[in-house]
Symmetry: D2
């Protein structure tokens, strides 16, 4: 694939975006390897997608902390290597210079959408980009209100609501609308509504644009979808599966709000039920423990029955860094979605379900089956629009 690809973040100064940009710069400078990056593994084999080093970053944000300052804070917290922010200072400053003010509360009507789309077009034009993928890595929003659900049920309803300046359209959905209007594919890395309502899906289809979502599968849910098939294929009956997530950082603070947490817990819960084929008892907690910062600890307790009803248990503790787990997947998704657009795919890209807790366009949650689907899809993409080999 020739040319350059833009990656436009909703939440450009947050931990995930900053880690993504700093990491891509480090890889470009030969100061880091591609640990955690899936697209370049044997199997996906890059799929003809643009390389990490071909990406140009920009984005919207409402937070005043600049990308370089965020990078410093992340290095202090042990998320980024101590000396990385200084080593990639120039690139961080360049990305920071491309950040535009994000949409704020009440800023949800036609004019806001137009402004966002104009920012996207300017980013593409100013940087001589072939295409721009918009990636939502901003704070988790609550599920749609009833009014918002009505307003996004059909495309005409949405257009009317935008004209009327409907106030409670979620920002993520406004961004998705603007992205599609500006001919940009969209990646929903959070559980926010974003491109998922029918009106948005219709718009993407109309404009021939691919999108992917939602809610990056980075930690406890990743483990669940790797482990639950083991219980299913071994006919071991899961009686309860209890989950606790302790996390600090910005995401933890957002999820301390029960309304926002509803989106996340709904997203997290569905895979297990789908894989096991029945509902499973047990709590699912997300707790804000500020002290833990970007490092998350999850504990899961699984009680199951074996032969003749013998009771057994599995427990696991996962201690991971959310931003470090998310960032390489963001790079993968931006690259693969860009390639999907190039070869003419549109609509929800079900084969990208491997990356998500709540895979748009698919009911498949089993991690290994998702991997197989991703590999097959990448082989098609690698073959190019007409079937000839890419590059």
């Amino acid at each position: 694939m020739s040319g350059r690809t833009g990656v436009w973040f909703i939440g450009a100064r947050g931990s995930v975006a900053t880690t993504t940009v700093a990491g891509a710069l480090a890889i470009g400078a030969g100061a880091a390897d591609r640990t955690g990056c899936v697209a370049d593994l044997p199997g996906p084999d890059a799929a003809g997608a643009p390389d990490i080093t071909d990406l140009v970053f920009g984005g919207h944000d409402v937070d005043g902390c600049t990308l370089p300052k965020r990078a410093e804070a992340l290095a202090q917290a042990g998320v980024l290597p101590a000396h990385l922010p200084a080593a990639v200072a120039e690139g961080l400053a360049a990305a920071e210079a491309r950040v535009r003010p994000g949409a704020t509360a009440g800023d949800a009507g036609r004019s806001a959408a137009d402004r966002i789309a104009a920012d996207l077009r300017a980013f593409r034009a100013d940087n001589g980009l072939d295409r721009v993928v918009v990636v939502d890595v901003s704070s988790t929003e609550p599920p749609l209100s009833e009014a918002a659900a009505r307003a996004t049920a059909t495309l005409p309803a949405l257009e009317a609501a935008l004209d009327a300046g409907t106030p409670d359209l979620p920002a993520s959905t406004l961004y998705a609308y603007a992205a599609f209007r500006a001919d940009c594919p969209f990646v929903a890395f959070t559980p926010s509504p974003g491109p998922r309502p029918p009106a948005l899906a219709a718009l993407a289809r109309d404009r021939g644009l691919p999108w992917a979502g939602s809610d990056g599968k980075t930690g406890e849910t990743l483990l669940k979808t790797a482990l639950a098939p083991m219980f299913a294929t071994r006919a071991l009956r899961v009686r309860s599966w209890s989950s606790v997530n302790l996390l600090g950082g910005g995401d933890g603070a957002t999820l301390a709000d029960p309304a926002a947490a509803d989106s996340k817990t709904a997203s997290k819960a569905q895979g297990l039920r789908r894989i096991l084929g029945h509902p499973v008892d047990g709590p699912l907690h997300i707790d804000y423990v500020p002290d833990l910062g970007d490092f998350k600890t999850a504990w899961d307790h699984v009680a199951f029955d074996g032969f003749l009803g013998t009771r057994m248990t599995l427990q696991f503790t996962w201690a991971g860094c959310d931003s470090a787990l998310a960032a390489p997947l963001v790079l993968d998704l931006a690259r693969l979605t860009a390639r999907a657009q190039e070869v003419g795919r549109s609509g929800a890209q079900a084969a990208l379900g491997f990356f998500f807790k709540d895979p748009a366009g698919s009911d498949e949650h089993r991690l290994a089956a998702q991997w197989d689907a991703l590999v097959a899809w990448c082989a098609e993409l690698g073959a190019g629009p007409d079937g000839e080999a890419a590059r």
Copy 2:
């Protein structure tokens, strides 16, 4: 599939065999469900194999504790439901009546093989069985000595050694030899050498017999092969994987002998390296803690790197009952191997690797990929020898 199938245990009075027999009887009596049994799940769909209720049990053992007594002890220990031994007493007594004295030390030459084969033929004839599958669930043996390796390198060498009465041929291999001579398929549920040396594999091929092995994948290794692909497909670099297994029971006592434990640890270690593609640091302990009885607790600690070298960990604790995990797999393997013989398969059945730590005939250790292979193989078996549907 019509007719009846015999299951002949090496180690017929041990915990695994007793749990298997008691469980099959309970299922036949409608007193237990098939939790833990894989062959009847959607996917394998029984593969045309004999039903659990069509199995007839017998076996060899050197231990004097009878099957009904062992069942009582297992009920005391919480492995079997408290009232099960009484409920299936008649069936246990019938199985006990079919137990023959096992081969003992020094009893490894031609005459011993002939005696074993005669026992197998008598079991088949006396019970009007269509076929008999031999399943080794006896104590783990050490790896082959150099002399035994030479003696089992080729079939002529083995025949000569048997004629000479070579003393250090492992019992499991003697049993496998006798089984093949008596036209019985063989399932190696332990890591003992059994049918794995070249001479035995050649004999099975010559006589058109299927076999499967080795070392049932029931606990910690099962988890490893479910989890390691997650690290591999997410490009997370595993730096160390430390494993501790605490177990009592007869298996624990056997494995307290370092020579026997060598077989087990070698069997356990290989999957991880194969799946991750590189050797992995970290100890692998198997400790005998008599107090724990048949319940095993395994703790694994995985240290891995994510993006930009961020250090993360996964720990899990598995508290399971070994006999209860093994017994349903023994039923599955006996049934599926019987069916394989019926439709004319011979040699190591690679598709049964799903059940084993050290899959004969296959390098595939990833649990989900093994499941896919099993399902495909079962579909072939279900279609019968000529391709028409079975039953």
Copy 3:
């Protein structure tokens, strides 16, 4: 100590009371040892208290499931040995015959108190008992309402409220009132208000009666009060302490009600803060997972700083049986409180804080310090009322 001592349970047919009675009978019959019983250890040395075999059991309950039936259910669930209920059937039936209908909703006035006190006096007289200790092991109640707090602020206010038939006095407090009126010491084994309001404490003092409470320290909190002093005396700074309790059983169902859980979480939280000397961040969950029955699993995650701010963690998982942990402490408390009455102690017995999450009369939560206090107190009690040796 001569003579016999009665133990009267509020909640006589619940899991804790049934396990206590069945266990005492088993010990009396020589069918069980005193594992879990503290009073007979070196140190306390029984303190001159009545022996377990000198106890006579009765109680109130509103549940219709009889003691023998409850014992059967507990044996099924693995809480009691399988054959114990049959072995002590006679004793269980005798205790069941002494159970009287408990107070029900709205049944909170003077007449109810009189009826309860009459039941206690009849139990003492009918069985020729020297004294009767009342032990509350019934379901956890919510904290006092404002009206109930006013009604129990002083003894005159309480008497007036009883005369007026005040409806929202908690049952536990009504029982404590009746117990003191009938000259019975009281043990509050739950976090319910019981004898803790000022009016009740005054009544106990007036009548020269000892009492003890509250909320038996049986599991996670026990561990916390053993571990937190380690952090304190090693100057390790605890940054967060997160706790999750998964439990089924009746207690789990009660605590699924947020109002009742408030009593429990308040009781559980205070020790940590007191021992560490500062508030500690982190959630404290109590989750009802019916599947787990009487077995509780608690997971705690402690994040702390060492020298130069180095971050470290401790996690623990406690898998225990609540009734089996509580029952021997109930025996200890009944015996020691009876002895305290015999030697003339009155009021809250601070030295029994060793047994409680929320020790009445004491701010000491450190387990080892509580043990030292208990041993010293037992030595005093053992010396008898006048200082001469008891028995």
Copy 4:
């Protein structure tokens, strides 16, 4: 206490000594607080000991990596804060300048002892120190050989062996001999023989010198001695206690040698048996996992019985940094042992058992009881040699 105190490390360039020196310098510069330092807590109240800021550091080492370089490596590994080595560079260089070549293999006779003692006297004189405490933080040695045991059985035997140049006297014991000859108290922070053989104890007594040991109780054993008393005082019967320690770093490499590990496991095992009053089943592993560096992860699994034989378990995982746990205790021990010398104490200081896995002069392993003993002893020391208040 007036004047200055020297701290002389055996192993002056190792992780523990370097962390200790860097930490003391940081505290002196106001760049770190005293987290992890016990002596200044309420209770010990410093005991009249010299302040951390009054300490002067030097030592022996055979390793060529300088203290400033080691500090850099520790900062890279996350043991020291990233910017600390630069901030205290001057102090590190000053300590490095006071390091002398350590004793090497075969260097175990009279002349070596004389050279070491001369180094100690020179350190004291050159720096105008009131006293010098020698602290062994070097690599763990194997238990005494039979010959060495004979050579250290009595002081005359030791003197004769030194004159004869006996080759297999452990270095730690040679250092202890030289320290006592040079009138220096000694702290054995490792499980090496050091001052423990009778000959050394006699020498310390003869010369009126206090000493303390052995093997700093920093992690898993610390937890064991906090938790085991809980089981004992609650009459819960511990059936097995299994322990696994995964550690990298220099200590891990040393302990990968089974002979050295013997010292450590013997030291670790004894407390449990002493506290519980009976031997306890279960393995005790120390595994070298280089990847983990200075961070150690320990997993313990405790199986215990409650009332009526109900089976329960406790597991814990401790993830700590050994050097950061050890360093503040080294400061405490140096200060308190200096004070003990000042007030005229001699011989093994049993009250310092709080700090050790294998407390010299004491059988008390219960952490809380050790704390009480330490507090009482500190009160005596604080009162000074004649009973008047210190300072």
